[in-house]
């Protein structure tokens, strides 16, 4: 496997990239002087991929909710025992996560990087599912689901997504439900595994004080030499209307003060690549310009005691969906929402401020740069963006190309109060 080297003079970083004959994309980001080395091996397969057509088949396969996450748990089991034991031998810290769109396995270590890399590549390629070990996991994941049932931040966010979407599977909890995971058996797990854990649907990203060519060698000797998929895995998503499903959703939990998440559904979706990256950056700039810490809206809400330091804003840009979201704790979430709408209307009348645009652009640059401090953060972000056909090495150029006009246009299109949802978690009454 040959590696291409690319140096970014502004970031002062070099990225190596190669494609293994199986179709696996491999990346190395050397970080001189770092104690920790990190590797993340991920598949473009998340909780939203529960309906799909396997390459070479004609029929749609539909599987129970929560299966991608279940698979993630089960992959750590081997016939000889638990994979953690093998990482532990070298002191490595191993983990995994499942998101809406990705499942990834990772480790960080300060010694024996290549031994750990071999373990990672091997175990992810070797599933071992039995009826007994599937059943055992149902108890553990059941407790994971219970834990999230009590987590108000998690609940308020997932209720928000449920209200935002009519049919798109992003409205469903990543772990599924106790009921849905009870339908999982080893045959379904193998079918999902063989569909989505094909190297050509996967990425290996590594970072640290490591040698690119040595990583390539280990990939050559550990990745099975299968043929890349000749056709794409067809992911079947239901038709999603442009409107929101519900404008408001509420739940009661044992909390001291209401928590809320509110935001706007993105209707401009269906693409990845640089175009998506550009939309992502622009939307974040607009959000900061409307309700970032230096805005009059933020200051006024804070001074009225309507928001506190827990207030946060974010934008999610995926190929098949997108939304901006803001929230935190508030004694009166409805009033916060109303004031946000009023401010958007005022800004539509009076226009956005160009000086603020320039200042916020600086913030966005600083934030992007800072993530290169952490081998984990930068690798995870590279991986998730690569699955959307974006390359973060293009970030600075795209960022530079953004004009005040782009921002004004996005402000008018995306921040539409008709496409807004408010989700609230309140204390129990009495």
């Amino acid at each position: 496997m040959n590696l291409q080297e690319k140096y970014h003079s502004e970031l002062k970083e070099t990225l190596y990239h190669g494609v293994h004959k199986s179709g696996l994309n491999v990346y190395v980001l050397p970080k001189k002087g770092y104690s920790k080395s990190y590797a993340i091996f991920g598949t473009r397969y998340g909780s939203i991929d529960s309906k799909f057509i396997v390459p070479g088949e004609k029929e749609v396969t539909e599987v129970p909710d929560g299966i991608a996450h279940f698979l993630e748990h089960k992959l750590f089991e081997e016939e000889e025992g638990n994979v953690f034991d093998r990482f532990s031998k070298y002191g490595a810290s191993a983990n995994a996560f499942t998101s809406f769109t990705t499942t990834a396995y990772l480790f960080s270590c300060t010694d024996h990087f290549y031994d750990n890399l071999s373990i990672l590549l091997d175990f992810v390629q070797n599933p071992y599912f039995t009826e007994e070990n599937v059943q055992k996991e149902q108890g553990i994941i059941g407790q994971e689901i219970r834990m999230y049932d009590d987590d108000p931040n998690w609940r308020v966010y997932f209720n928000f997504l449920d209200a935002l979407y009519h049919h798109h599977p992003v409205k469903i909890d990543i772990a599924g439900t106790v009921e849905s995971i009870s339908q999982i058996n080893k045959d379904i797990l193998y079918k999902c595994y063989h569909t989505f854990y094909h190297p050509s649907n996967m990425i290996l990203f590594t970072a640290g004080d490591i040698e690119p060519n040595k990583v390539a060698e280990y990939v050559e000797s550990h990745i099975k030499a299968t043929e890349p998929y000749q056709e794409e895995i067809r992911r079947v998503y239901p038709e999603e209307p442009q409107t929101v499903s519900k404008q408001k959703v509420e739940q009661n939990l044992s909390v001291s003060i209401p928590l809320f998440q509110a935001g706007f559904k993105d209707t401009d979706v269906g693409y990845g690549g640089d175009k998506l990256l550009k939309k992502d950056i622009i939307t974040r700039i607009v959000l900061e310009m409307i309700m970032g810490k230096s805005t009059r809206l933020y200051q006024s809400l804070y001074e009225q005691g309507l928001i506190n330091d827990s207030f946060d804003i974010d934008y999610t840009a995926e190929i098949s969906y997108g939304f901006s979201v803001f929230g935190g704790e508030s004694p009166n979430p409805e009033k916060v929402q109303q004031e946000v709408i009023n401010e958007i209307q005022r800004l539509s009348r009076d226009g956005l401020n160009k000086n603020e645009f320039e200042r916020i652009k600086k913030v966005i640059f600083g934030r992007f740069l800072r993530q290169f401090n952490s081998v984990e953060a930068v690798s995870n972000n590279f991986m998730s963006t690569l699955f959307k056909e974006m390359n973060l090495f293009n970030y600075v150029d795209i960022y530079r190309s953004i004009t005040f006009d782009d921002v004004q246009k996005r402000f008018t299109e995306h921040f539409n109060p008709d496409n807004m949802v408010l989700s609230v978690v309140r204390p129990y009454e009495g």
Binding site: K32, S35, N82, D85, S88, D149, V255, K293, R370, S374
Partner: protein, 424 residues
């Protein structure tokens, strides 16, 4: 790697400079050490909240926010860190290095100056803080104190400590209490501020790529505070007397029961037993190689999370887990069974080696995050030890199974706390 340079700036104020060129940023932090006690805990917790609202040159939070944005989104955060019975008021800043922006902007100098202004040049009206700010931040702090309940996992650990140490200063919540908040106004808080600033050890940490002379000069030019006395670090009392096990049940509408077990280790960070204790904790519940993970979770499927954690300054250890309420007894018995296993010396070589290697790995990993390095050294100062990363690694690596079994004999269960929707 992993050393720092210490400089005395003026009586009571020290600079700790950690040189490194691998990051794209500088960090600047100010830590003010206060003893944790009922009288001052709430006032100490309120101080950073009020100080962050405005200084003489930046009188509103909007002014501060705008300035931080001009500095390429420099990060500013403040609050409280509790280490034993030491309530530390913290201010943390991070700014990118000048080489990544077009012109040499002196971002470190500007950030350090802002830090100094926020902490030492607050906005004052008639010998007191601005009333509006104090009132708003009292409300915010009240919400924060009451908001502990929103995160059930940390709530259950904190409540266990509170019950366990109800007669010790450690039992005081790091953010104080709602009841004490009502007694504070802008005048009382300002007077308290003056006492704190002139009588507390203050540590300034800087990390990044800059020459030691330059950073020393920068700090010396900015910070010249006159101390009233030669301040010393607060100390923590370690309790060795354990009576009958205290059992606390707290009912709440929750889906999952939260079980916390509070233990007394009776070991201070300066004791030689501290190093075997770290290994004991790793073996017991410090990660996926531990006895708790492999038995409570993997073997019995009782929990998704179960871990043990040391509070090293106070000589405590807590086990925390989320379980089905009806599995209370099963989970409790298994946790205690695994504890007994270590006491009996039933430790495999694989478990033991994995624990040592994992401890070494986490210590070396600290060097990749500036704020973790700061926290590590801060803990050395507070704990009265002087181990750099390699010292600690070599001390932990020489711990034997026998050492671990020996420290385990003295560790005692003190309090069992259970948060659940039904009585156990």
């Amino acid at each position: 790697m992993g050393g720092f340079n210490k400089t005395n700036i003026t009586k009571g104020i020290h600079l700790y400079y950690i040189p490194t060129d691998k990051f794209k940023t500088f960090t600047v932090s100010i830590y003010i050490h206060q003893p944790l006690n009922k009288e001052n805990a709430t006032k100490n917790a309120l101080l950073p909240q009020v100080l962050k609202r405005g200084s003489i040159d930046f009188p509103t939070s909007q002014d501060i926010a705008r300035y931080l944005e001009e500095l390429y989104g420099a990060v500013f955060d403040c609050g409280i860190v509790k280490k034993g019975e030491n309530q530390i008021i913290r201010f943390n800043f991070e700014t990118i290095e000048d080489t990544y922006v077009d012109q040499g902007e002196g971002l470190l100098q500007k950030t350090m100056k802002l830090a100094k202004q926020i902490v030492f040049e607050p906005l004052i009206e008639n010998e007191r803080f601005k009333k509006e700010y104090v009132e708003q931040e009292k409300q915010n702090l009240k919400n924060q104190i009451e908001g502990l309940i929103n995160n059930k996992m940390s709530y259950a650990v904190e409540r266990c400590y509170q019950e366990m140490c109800s007669n010790e200063n450690f039992g005081i919540y790091e953010l104080g209490s709602v009841e004490d908040l009502n007694t504070i106004d802008e005048k009382i808080l300002y007077e308290h501020y003056l006492t704190v600033i002139h009588n507390s050890p203050i540590d300034i940490f800087v990390t990044g790529s800059i020459s030691e002379d330059k950073v020393k000069q920068m700090v010396q030019n900015l910070f010249h505070i006159t101390m009233d006395s030669n301040p010393v670090y607060p100390t923590t009392e370690i309790v060795s007397q354990v009576g009958e096990v205290k059992k606390v049940y707290e009912p709440m509408k929750v889906a999952q029961g939260k079980l916390s077990l509070g233990f007394r280790t009776k070991i201070a960070p300066t004791d030689k037993e501290y190093y075997p204790l770290v290994i004991f904790n790793g073996l017991f519940g410090g990660g996926p190689h531990s006895k708790l993970f492999n038995n409570v979770r993997e073997k019995l499927s009782l929990a998704y999370y179960v871990f043990s954690r040391l509070e090293k300054f106070k000589g405590l250890m807590v086990v925390s887990s989320g379980i089905e309420p009806e599995n209370y007894q099963k989970a409790f018995d298994e946790i205690m069974f695994q504890f007994e296993e270590i006491k009996k010396g039933n430790i495999t070589d694989a478990e033991f080696d994995a624990t040592i290697n994992s401890a070494v790995n986490s210590i070396r990993s600290l060097a990749d995050t500036a704020f973790y390095m700061e926290d590590y050294y801060l803990s050395q100062l507070v704990g009265g030890t002087n181990d750099d990363f390699e010292d600690l690694i070599s001390k932990l690596s020489s711990v034997t199974k026998e050492d671990v079994v020996a420290v385990a004999q003295n560790i005692q269960l003190d309090t069992v706390y259970f948060l659940s929707n039904k009585e156990a």
